[in-house]
Amino acid sequence: MSDLSLLVQMGFGALLALSVYLPLRCGQLSLATPGFYVIGGYVAALLSTRWPALSGAGTGYPLTSLALELVVAALVAAAVALVLGRPVLQLRGIYLAIATIALVEILRVLNLNLAWSGGAVGIFGIPQPFAGPGGYALATWVLLALVCWLCARLEAMRLGRAMAAIRDDELAARCMGIPSADVKLTAFVISAVIAALTGVLAAHFLNTWNARQGGFDASITTLAFVVFGGSRIWLGPVLGGLVITALPELLRPVGDLRLILFGLVILLGPILFPQGLITPERLARLQQTLRRP
C-alpha cells in the first residue's frame, strides 16, 4: 500500500471515529456508524455506475457528480437516522448498542440479498473522480478538517453544552429544560451524515462496494478508535482513528509480531488510559507546560 493510500484510510478511520464520538458525547453508545457508512457507499456506487449522465463526457468522473453524490448520501442518511432515531434512542446504555448493532446486521443481510445492491458480489467498477490516491487524500482530509471544525465549534455552542449535560446526568438536564430527545436525535443525525459522506469517498477509493464493508467487526473497530483515543473531546477520536488505522501498516517491518503488538496496544490502551489517550485535563496540562518558558 502506498503512503498516500494509507493516509486516505487513516482519514476514513478518523471520520468514522468522529461519527461514533458525536452520539457518545451525549452519552449514547450507538454502533450504527458502519450502517450509515455502507448506505453512503451504496449511494455513491449506485449513482455513479447506474446513472450514465453523471459520468460526463470527459475522461475522469466529474467532481460535480461526486459533490452531488455527497449531498444525496447526506440526505438519505439523515432521513434514515431521523426515522430510526426516535424509537431507537429511547433505549439506554448497552441496549442502544445492541439495537444499533442489529441495525447494521439487518442492513448487511439486506444488501447481501437484494438485487439492486449487487448481492454478495457487490458493485464493481466504480468510476474514479481522482487520478491517484493524492486526490483522495486531499478530499478525505478536507472533509476531516471540516468535521473537526464542526466538532470544535460545538464546544462553544449551546448544543455542545446540552450534549455534555445529558452525558453527565440526563434527568438533571431535562429538569433544566433541555429537550434531551431532540438533542440526542440531532447528534445521531449528524453522526449518520458524517459516516455516509465517508462512505461515498470510500466507495470511489476502493473502486468496489459490497455488503461486507459494514458489519459487526466494523462496529467494534470504530468503537475501538474512540475507546483508545478518548471520547470526551473531539481530538481523542481523531487520534484514535488515525493511529489504530495506521498501526497494522506501520508495524509491518516487525513481521509476524505485528498482530500481537497491535493486539497489545488495543488491550493496554484502555488499561493504562481508561478515559482514552486524550482528555480535556491532559490537554490543559499540556498547554500549560508548553506556555511555560
Partner: protein
C-alpha cells in the same frame, strides 16, 4: 379558621394539587394530597423520612407521574408532561442528592441552565462571528451574575464536583434560577450545611424571592429554619397531608406533634 370555597382558592393559586396519589407497587407514597401554593409565598413541606415529600416534588417537576389526581399550574393541568416541558412552563428545581454536572465547571453548569436564553443563529455560531461571540459574552456575564448571587463567583472555573457540599447546594440553586422559573422547588437546600450557612441560606432564599418575583416550595428537615422561613407549611406523614397552615398553627397541631414525637401514653 374560615374555610374558603375550594374553587376560589384554586383559581388564585399558582400551583394546585388536587387529590394527588402516587403508588409504587404496594407502597402508597402519596395518598390523596391536596394543596395550593399562592404566588409569591414561601411554602414549606415537612415530614418524617419517607413521608413522600420528594415524591411530591418529582410529580410536580415531571420526573414521575401521579397515579391519580391532578396537578394544575397557573391555568392548565401539567400531570404527565415531561420534565423539560414543565421546566419551560416556569418550574425549576434542585435535587436532594445533588445532581450537578460534576465534571463541568460551575459556570458551565449555570450556562446549561441558560440553555433557552442561549439560542443563537446557526451560521454565525459555526463561523464564530463577532455577533455570536458577543451574545456568548453576555450569556457568560449573566451566568457570572447568578454565581455571584449565590456567592460562588470565585469558583466559576472549578469543576462542580470539587466544591464543598454547601457550595454545591447553592450552585444547584443558581443553575435552577438560570432557567428563569416562576416557581422554585428546593429539595433539602440546607442539608449538610452548618448553622451559620443555614442562616445565610434562609436569607438568600428570601432575597431571591423578592429579586426574581419567585414562589418557593421548599422541603427541609430543619424545623426551626422552616418555621422562620416559610409563610405556610404543609406536613406530610406516610403520604398523607396531616396539617396545613401558618408555622404557628402547624406547631401546635396535635397531629403534627404526634407524627414527630409519637403519642404520649
Amino acid at each position: 379558621m374560615q374555610v374558603p370555597s375550594a374553587q376560589a382558592t384554586a383559581a388564585a393559586s399558582l400551583l394546585a394539587l388536587e387529590e394527588v396519589s402516587c403508588r409504587f407497587g404496594g407502597l402508597l407514597a402519596l395518598d390523596r394530597v391536596s394543596l395550593q401554593v399562592q404566588p409569591g409565598e414561601i411554602f414549606g413541606l415537612i415530614g418524617p423520612n419517607g413521608a413522600g415529600k420528594t415524591t411530591l416534588f418529582n410529580l410536580i417537576s415531571g420526573v414521575g407521574r401521579p397515579t391519580a389526581g391532578s396537578i394544575r399550574w397557573s391555568d392548565g393541568a401539567i400531570n404527565g408532561l415531561p420534565p423539560d416541558r414543565i421546566n419551560r412552563l416556569g418550574i425549576g428545581r434542585t435535587f436532594q442528592n445533588l445532581r450537578l454536572f460534576q465534571r463541568l465547571s460551575c459556570l458551565e453548569n449555570v450556562l446549561i441552565g441558560l440553555h433557552h436564553s442561549a439560542r443563537a443563529p446557526l451560521l454565525p455560531a459555526l463561523l464564530g462571528q463577532r455577533s455570536f461571540r458577543q451574545s456568548q459574552g453576555e450569556l457568560r456575564q449573566r451566568a457570572l451574575e447568578l454565581l455571584e448571587l449565590v456567592d460562588l463567583a470565585d469558583t466559576a472555573r472549578q469543576p462542580a464536583g470539587s466544591l464543598p457540599y454547601g457550595s454545591q447546594r447553592r450552585l444547584e440553586i443558581a443553575r435552577a434560577l438560570a432557567t428563569a422559573p416562576r416557581l422554585l422547588l428546593l429539595d433539602e437546600p440546607a442539608a449538610g450545611m452548618n448553622p451559620i450557612e443555614k442562616e445565610e441560606l434562609s436569607a438568600l432564599i428570601r432575597r431571591l424571592r423578592s429579586r426574581f418575583d419567585l414562589t418557593v416550595l421548599v422541603i427541609e428537615h430543619h424545623v426551626p429554619l422552616m418555621m422562620s422561613l416559610c409563610d405556610r407549611l404543609a406536613v406530610l406523614n406516610f403520604g398523607r397531608r396531616i396539617a396545613l397552615g401558618t408555622p404557628e398553627s402547624v406547631r401546635h397541631d396535635p397531629a403534627v406533634i404526634e407524627a414527630y414525637l409519637g403519642v404520649s401514653a
